[in-house]
Symmetry: C2
Subunit: 204 residues, 2 copies
Amino acid sequence: MKPKDTEAEILKAAEQEFMLRGFDGAKTAAIARSAGVTHAMLHYYFRTKEQLFERILSDKMSLMGRSVLTAFGNPGLPPLERLKDGISRHFDFLMANPDLPRFIINEVFSRPERYELMRGEISRIVDRLMQGVQQELDKLAGQGEIESVDVRMLMLDAVSLNIFPFIAYPVIEPIFGNIAVDREQFFALRKAENIEVIMRRIKK
Amino acid sequence: MKPKDTEAEILKAAEQEFMLRGFDGAKTAAIARSAGVTHAMLHYYFRTKEQLFERILSDKMSLMGRSVLTAFGNPGLPPLERLKDGISRHFDFLMANPDLPRFIINEVFSRPERYELMRGEISRIVDRLMQGVQQELDKLAGQGEIESVDVRMLMLDAVSLNIFPFIAYPVIEPIFGNIAVDREQFFALRKAENIEVIMRRIKK
DNA sequence: AAATGGTTTAACAAATCCGTCTAACAAAAT
DNA sequence: ATTTTGTTAGACGGATTTGTTAAACCATTT
């Protein structure tokens, strides 16, 4: 009896297929084949395609949520360093999960019933993260150290700059084929640029 | 004999369906029903679902490409004003076509055979647009008016900031439910923020 | 009015895809 | 050794979906 084995295989294959092709594009037969099992197995372990997808999507949604929190959230750095470090770590997370954002955005978009679930996830993050940072930034702004800004706007700036290049990579790659020799170098440049942009946004 | 009529109806319906659900999610029967014709008509005018989709996608791709060009391209304004104006007009275009970027990115992403086509489209834009702007900015930088920057990086900053909120709207909406009373106001704030960010990016 | 052309319809065919069922199989428990 | 429990394989069914075909339709031309 080796249950965990095939279940994990199916999950791994499903993750790949769903991430690459979305719910409609992914075919259960392809998942099964890629997992090296008959497609009946998929129903044995997960009943339906829907439930299997559910499992993958909610995993990925909470991963995506946590990524912002853990990147910007923990360290005891001074506010500006913390922001810089947050962008950097969030960017690193994206490099390790380059097509996660596209997957989330798509599937949430095409399933409005998910909005509520997402709303909850997001709200918790905002509450936990942004209030504290806002106070710190207000304090700095009060001291005339930085420009006063709304953290949510600033965070959206940062997240936009970080995520978009990954979402749109195939579209923008031709533009930067010259400026950078390879994908890795391009993203390294991009990370530096994003930090620069955000720092200048709040610099006095 | 009124050929153009139904052909146009089918195209209109196909556009809606494909934009909303993507190639796999859209069903030819639904397109036909929405166009008010039998689904055989769809094959009569376009042979296959693939060819119909082809038509829609390439229309949308060139629209997307032109949007950047026309927004940033034409007016005889001084460079900084031109940049400001470009962001503003590009943003307005997105407000009128809020789910165009998601559509393009998705379908191009899931069809690597399109990369080449996209590459061509993009390259022409870059050549036509960026070289001139780069020279102007270099000149300003030489005079010490602004920070020296790579236009392509700057443009990617601008496009990222502009497009991302539309792509991710369902995900970020809960965060800004407080800050703005409605969608329209949120995007108005966002447009101003994006201009501010980019101006500060190059300000000396 | 008969013929001609493009257009439309309805029925059909083929493929795909999700899900079920039954029987076989293996390992552990009795 | 037999039963039990959990796992696997293969075949099957039904629904959906894309694509085809042949005949009807209708406006214009002759």
